[in-house]
Structures are given as structure tokens and as C-alpha cells.
Point group: C2
Chain length 269, copies 2
């Protein structure tokens, strides 16, 4: 096989298998090429990945070593994307009765979701997480996008028990904004004891739901290593039940009467 073909094949392979370690002999066998050729291929791929800002190939030395693709979205690319997203969000027709904002179309766009996933994955790159945890419904696509890049599974907390989950652990919590008692349910076998988790959700107002997820994680003796929310509401800092979190967006004004909506970058930027 020619170098040109190998480069196409290897680029695809690394993109499909982020964060996994592969030995040099694996590629030597796969492509029937000399070790030195494969090494050169990797240098080219690494250089180009850095050039277009999608991460890098990292070499791990030693007998159990090899090469792995560590994806990351450059701050520059992330910033470019956020400008586009904010413009899209600041459309007054998104304002719903009660000052809520319609975001389901954005959460339904795989393109947006993937980019958001990459940004969160870059933010949580240094965390050694075993699972991405979210709660039904809107956080699910975000959680998968993050999990795909970090190469770990997703765990979905439900609002109601379901027969296809087996035995479950449930907690009650107080929703921060509505002050109502709500329930969260998670299958017992979904998380191993002592795991490290990242919590991801689409929106945080007073933080009651996130706080509930943290409590549920305690029931599993899981360690919450990071919390990511796509958007946080304006001026809720005082009553907020969650202090440490990463947000990509912050609503600073949602005014039904004036038909105005203003969004800025969240605390990640």
C-alpha cells in the first residue's frame, strides 16, 4: 500500500478511535509497512491535526506504549463556533411565555451537538472519568457527544423507574426554581462503586437538578469530577446550589415584553 492510501486509512482510524493506545507493530502489521514508514506517517498526521486544530497524536514510551489520538478543539475554533451559536440563540422568536428560551432545535442539530461535545471534552480532558452522567431528556445528546470524544460510556438518570432497568436507586430532590419535590432514578447496575464521573446537562437555573444528580452519585459512591452545563441562567448566583461548574453560555437578558434576548460566553471562556 502506498503512503498516500495509508495516510487516509490511518487518519480515519485515529479519528474513529480517540484516546485509545495502539502499538507501532499494530500498524506495521495492519498496513504491511516498515516501522520507519509508519513513524513518518504519524508525524505527518500529528502535524496536520495540530495545524487544523483538532488535537494531536501522543506517543507513550515503554513496553506497553504506543500512540494515541488526543482530540481537542483549539480555543480559537471553539471561539469561532461560540460566536455563531450565540448569534443563532439571540433570535427573539425563541422567547417563550414565562421568559423561557426555545433551544430544542439547536439541541437537535448533530453539527452543533458535536462541536459542543468537543469543547466539553477539551474542558474535561485532564479528568480521568469513567462515565458521563446526564438526566433525561435534553442533556442526553450532549452527554453522548462528550462521551464519544472521551471514549467512555454514558449513564442516563431517569425521572421515572422503568421495568427494563432492573433494580434501581432513587432519590427525591427539590427543584431549585419551581420548589417542587421531584424524583430521579438510576439502574443499580449502571455505575460501578467508586467510579469517577462527569455530569453534563443542557441548562442550569438554580442548580436543583444538578444538585440532585450529585446526591444520586453519592448513593453510588461515585466521585463527581466535573460538571458541564451548556447554558446557565442570568443572575442566579446567590441562590445557586452548585458552585463549581463549567458553562459555555450565559443568558444575560431574556425579556418577554421588550422581545429581547442577550447571551454571552459562559465561565469556560
Amino acid at each position: 500500500m502506498k503512503r498516500s492510501e495509508r495516510l487516509v486509512g490511518m487518519t480515519h482510524f485515529f479519528l474513529e478511535n480517540p484516546k485509545q493506545l495502539f502499538s507501532l507493530p499494530f500498524f506495521v502489521e495492519q498496513y504491511d509497512a516498515a516501522k520507519s514508514s509508519i513513524s513518518e506517517d504519524m508525524d505527518i498526521i500529528d502535524g496536520m491535526f495540530k495545524n487544523i486544530g483538532i488535537g494531536e497524536l501522543v506517543t507513550v514510551a515503554g513496553a506497553a506504549g504506543g500512540v494515541q489520538y488526543i482530540p481537542s478543539l483549539s480555543k480559537n475554533q471553539a471561539d469561532h463556533f461560540m460566536t455563531d451559536l450565540i448569534e443563532h440563540l439571540e433570535d427573539p422568536s425563541r422567547i417563550l411565555p414565562g421568559g423561557y428560551v426555545y433551544m430544542s432545535d439547536i439541541l437537535g442539530e448533530p453539527k452543533y451537538i458535536r462541536e459542543i461535545g468537543k469543547i466539553f471534552a477539551s474542558a474535561f480532558q485532564s479528568v480521568n472519568a469513567d462515565y458521563v452522567v446526564t438526566v433525561a431528556t435534553k442533556g442526553i445528546p450532549l452527554a453522548y457527544a462528550v462521551a464519544q470524544v472521551l471514549d467512555i460510556p454514558v449513564v442516563i438518570i431517569r425521572r421515572d423507574p422503568k421495568v427494563t432497568e432492573g433494580s434501581t436507586v432513587s432519590i427525591n430532590y427539590v427543584s431549585g426554581s419551581s420548589r417542587k419535590i421531584q424524583t430521579m432514578v438510576l439502574a443499580k447496575r449502571s455505575i460501578k462503586e467508586g467510579s469517577n464521573v462527569i455530569i453534563v446537562d443542557d441548562f442550569m437555573k438554580a442548580g436543583g437538578t444538578i444538585h440532585g444528580m450529585i446526591s444520586l452519585m453519592h448513593e453510588f459512591n461515585a466521585n463527581v469530577q466535573g460538571i458541564g452545563v451548556l447554558a446557565e441562567a442570568e443572575d442566579e448566583e446567590e441562590d445557586r446550589k452548585v458552585e463549581q461548574y463549567t458553562s459555555l453560555l450565559k443568558f444575560i437578558e431574556v425579556n418577554e415584553d421588550k422581545h429581547a434576548i442577550r447571551v454571552k460566553r459562559g465561565n469556560y471562556f
Copy 2:
């Protein structure tokens, strides 16, 4: 830029932008290379994509023409994946009280989800769909995986109305297996009138839920062009409310007493 670097960049670009048409001059400008060089690059990428069974680059002639990456998973690769998935599923510890099967771990694995998404996307490649429609909760990751390959948005039907959805359309339907009356809700602005949709869900027993989704799509004057379910239950054909569908898996035996579970390939294979 050297050909080798260009090949890495273009491979990444096509993989990230499936089904979108790009003109030759776009790449000529992007990579500052001659038209003939870009053409040769594309031949190399197309050849290698076919070789590793992930689809092909298709050239569209004419003034509005260009090149697009049409992803598809070869039957051979799909078959290989199904063998692995079935082995994973036939673990008796998955059997839950009532003869249900625990599948949440599989639905939480981005690796599995992506492959399943590619198989469905290949199955619905010829359908010109505008949306992938699913119902909360377990179908959501599958729907995104399909939508990502087909480059169309996902629309999520909910079980309960939510204030962040704006005005909604709701229907009642009879769940096939439990015979209970249930509700489905969808935001009015989520689907344009006259759209073509593909319905995706994780599991079908009597088909009541899928049937409900079809009814709800009628309310939006949307045309259901395809129905995909990951797994269908054993021996429900007689009472089934849905006749045309694509399944990847079929449970043929789930026996709580004997502690036995048998799965075979669905009607797609």
C-alpha cells in the same frame, strides 16, 4: 502544502461533513493547490474509503456540482459488528423480572451506538429524509447517531409537555403491550409541514409506541419514509400494529426460568 498533509486534512474534512456537496474550487482555494492535484487526492481518498468499507466520494456534475462523501457501512462490516453485539446480548445476567432484557449499558456505549447509527443510515441512505424522529428516552442516542451520518436534525417526542418547548401538539395512544393509554407531545415548531421523516427507536414489542409516533407525524403532515428499531421482540407478528420496519436484532427466546436468552439478526439482514 504537501499532498501527504492535504490527504490528512481532506480525509478529516469529508468524514466531518458527510452528505454535503463541496465544489472543486473550494478545495483548490482551501489548500492552495492545482485542480488536477485535488482531483487526484479525491481519487486516492475515494479508493481508500471503498477499500476500508466506509463509503465513497461521489462526484456531481454541472455548475452546481461538486464532490460529497456518502458514508455507508459495508454489509461485511455490519455483519462482523452484529456477531459481536449478539454475543454481548446473549448474556443471561441481562434477563430482568418479567422477561425483559437489560440493554442500557449497550445503549450507553458510544462505540456501539455509532456503529448501529451507521447501519441504519446505510439502510435509509436512499430515503430523502428531513428529520430523524424518536421518542424519549432510550431511542435518543440511536437517533443522533443516524442523524449524524445523514446530516439532518433530530426531533425528540416527549411523554410530558415541558415549558421550554413552547406550544405543542399532543396525542393519546394505546401502548400495545400494557394496553394503557399514554401521551406523546411534540413542540409545534419542531417539524415543518410536509417534511419527510425517519422514525428510530430502541425496541419494538407490539408496536404501539411506533404506531403512536406515526399518528403524531400525521398531525404534522409529515411523511414517514422509514422506521428503524434496534431490536424487536419474539413472536409478536400477529398483533403487531406496524408492518413495514427495519430491525437489526430479534429476540427469539428470553426465558427467565431457564436463564436463557437467544438473539438473532433482524429483518435488515
